[in-house]
Symmetry: C2
Subunit: 353 residues, 2 copies
């Protein structure tokens, strides 16, 4: 341990004082200053009730004076796991996930844990990279919206006893999940468009390998069937990115052919992109074509034409998922896996009136 010696003059008497280099103040130095053993300092930090009040005060004083900051990696190494959980989302730029993350963070910080937020960007490779980092960090638990149906990538963590909760992804059996019924949401959206009189529709979506996209489509088709319409009344427009840019691309495709009566977008960012592109091309919403999005993000109501949408309980989603996760972490034995399914809600605004 490197040390600096400093000269201190008190009342005319010169003292040599051993001063630890900053960043070098460990539990040992604190212990020496407080005149106790390292074990006691550790107890003050982790189980203060086991330490006599006077001793505790002395130790806390020493901690303050020396600017001691506990070394998290040492604690993690010793414990075998950290006090952090991983959160892997499909797109940090999507307000849906931002809201989920808020719910997560509120619960987690109440319980004195930390969140490591990762972005898979809908790419399985990036997802795998993120999971590796989280495994290396020995996170206690994992919240993830998987990029595809293949959950085997999660085994890297699960084999090591890390609790996992799937977010916005319904699972069966041996894992917890918290989801919103996307089939119901798709049904809601398209049933509403049909009510309004639409007969030829388009579904603007990201890759159908993304379960949310596929389920919303399934619900949409169910609504068609219920109205006695054939599946071909709904044309799929698949774009690579689920953001405003992707929406622009979809609009180009739509404008190239006969416009449908109504457009259902797999999320609001796509819908905003479609709306912008259609407006620029002189198409009026909802007069020429009705439009509905999904997620009901904050911006939808402030859009050029306030956007109809399907609202999901996002904050709740993050909150419940985290509670489930931490419960499993705290009592892995007595934990029964649960699959929770929320119901979405239709919000009608100008764009489909």
């Amino acid at each position: 341990m490197t040390r600096f010696n400093s000269v201190v003059t008190v009342n005319g008497i010169t003292l040599w004082e051993e001063v630890p280099a900053l960043g070098t103040v460990g539990i040992k130095e604190v212990a020496r200053r407080a005149g106790v053993s390292p074990g006691t300092v550790s107890n003050v930090l982790n189980r203060p009730e086991r330490v006599a009040a006077a001793t505790r005060a002395r130790v806390e004083e020493a901690i303050r004076e020396m600017g001691f900051v506990r070394n998290g990696s040492a604690a993690t190494l010793r414990a075998g796991q950290s006090r952090a959980i991983g959160l892997v989302v499909l797109d940090v730029g999507n307000p849906f996930f931002v809201a989920v993350a808020r719910g997560v963070e509120d619960v987690v910080s109440d319980r004195d844990h930390a969140v490591i937020l990762c972005n898979s960007g809908e790419s399985p490779e990036r997802e795998a990279r993120n999971l590796r980092v989280l495994a290396e960090q020995r996170v206690r638990g994992l919240l993830i919206t998987p990029t595809d149906e293949d959950l085997s990538r999660l085994d890297l963590l699960r084999e090591r006893g890390v609790a996992v909760v799937l977010v916005d992804h319904f699972a069966t059996g041996d894992v917890c999940s918290v989801a919103v019924d996307d089939v119901a949401g798709g049904n809601l959206a398209v049933a509403h468009l049909l009510d309004r009189g639409a007969r030829r529709l388009a579904y603007v979506t990201g890759p159908l390998a993304i379960r949310q996209c596929a389920d919303r489509r399934k619900g949409a088709r169910r609504a068609l069937r219920a109205a006695g319409l054939p599946a071909r009344a709904l044309e799929d427009i698949v774009v690579p990115e689920m953001n405003a840019n992707g929406g622009g691309l979809a609009a180009e495709k739509l404008l190239a052919g006969d416009l449908p009566d109504a457009i259902f977008c797999a999320n609001d960012l796509l819908a905003l992109g479609v709306l912008r592109a259609l407006s620029q091309a002189g198409v009026r919403v909802p007069d020429d074509v009705a439009l509905i999005g999904y997620d009901d993000i904050e911006f939808s109501s402030a859009a050029a034409v306030p956007l109809s949408s399907i609202r999901q309980p996002t904050y709740q989603l993050g909150k419940i998922a985290t509670e489930l996760l931490l419960d499993e972490c705290d009592d892995p034995g007595g934990h029964a896996h649960q699959q929770i399914m929320f119901q979405p809600e239709l919000v009608v605004r100008e764009s489909s009136r």
Copy 2:
């Protein structure tokens, strides 16, 4: 080290095989399997060029077979610092910071590091809590948009030799910073509104303790002066939150009195909130009142009335800041602190035409 013994039957012969419990595969077990010393495995992981090709192949094989995952905390403990940097932003819900975070992440993952993203929510207390966690995690460096002018909270990290770069906050002297000229931006916005004929203006902003808010105001006043108008031609409307909600609050205040000719908002979220509230009250933008925001987020162009705004090079901001930070980390001695200042750009749309 706990182990499970498993019974394996091959060709009628029963073997006892020692199998490591999962999560218990360390560098030692890999070494034994590959018939080398732990030191060599470590070398394969960290300086592969020092290991003979044949040995390396054998070790890599063993790593794959046993599903070894390096224990990050042990590595961090040994090294004294982790391969992660901290990023503390004012509001994860704000697309401005999301864009910055994207720039950061791209650089960081190229250089094989990780980002720990923290949200201070503009609260100095939460900022302090975040900094403590980052200090405990022994991050290599810190990117932060401070909540206020008091940078002493950063000493917790800086004293420990952690490199710091301020993001979107101009600093002098002994620390790197990457910022956008907010005074110029405020000037640009208000000069434009004055050009358009406005004579009585309002400035909707978050707390003026936030430097960005104060600087944009300063720029706005400079524009007034240049046009020969008194400072009182610009009324400040201060709201606690810089989001759409805050914008709604500001609009209520404005509607309670005489409406000004034009409104300058300290960011686009505020502007969207103002726009929504004004529209609901029957006020037409830009006919009754002109409106301009700040940040030029993606949604601004898709707003009810496409929003004029001040565009900042957000992605660049994150990218350059991270490069600066990692350079300082890699060569703390030969590093000269830099203050980089970008210039913002005026984007005129419907709301101030």
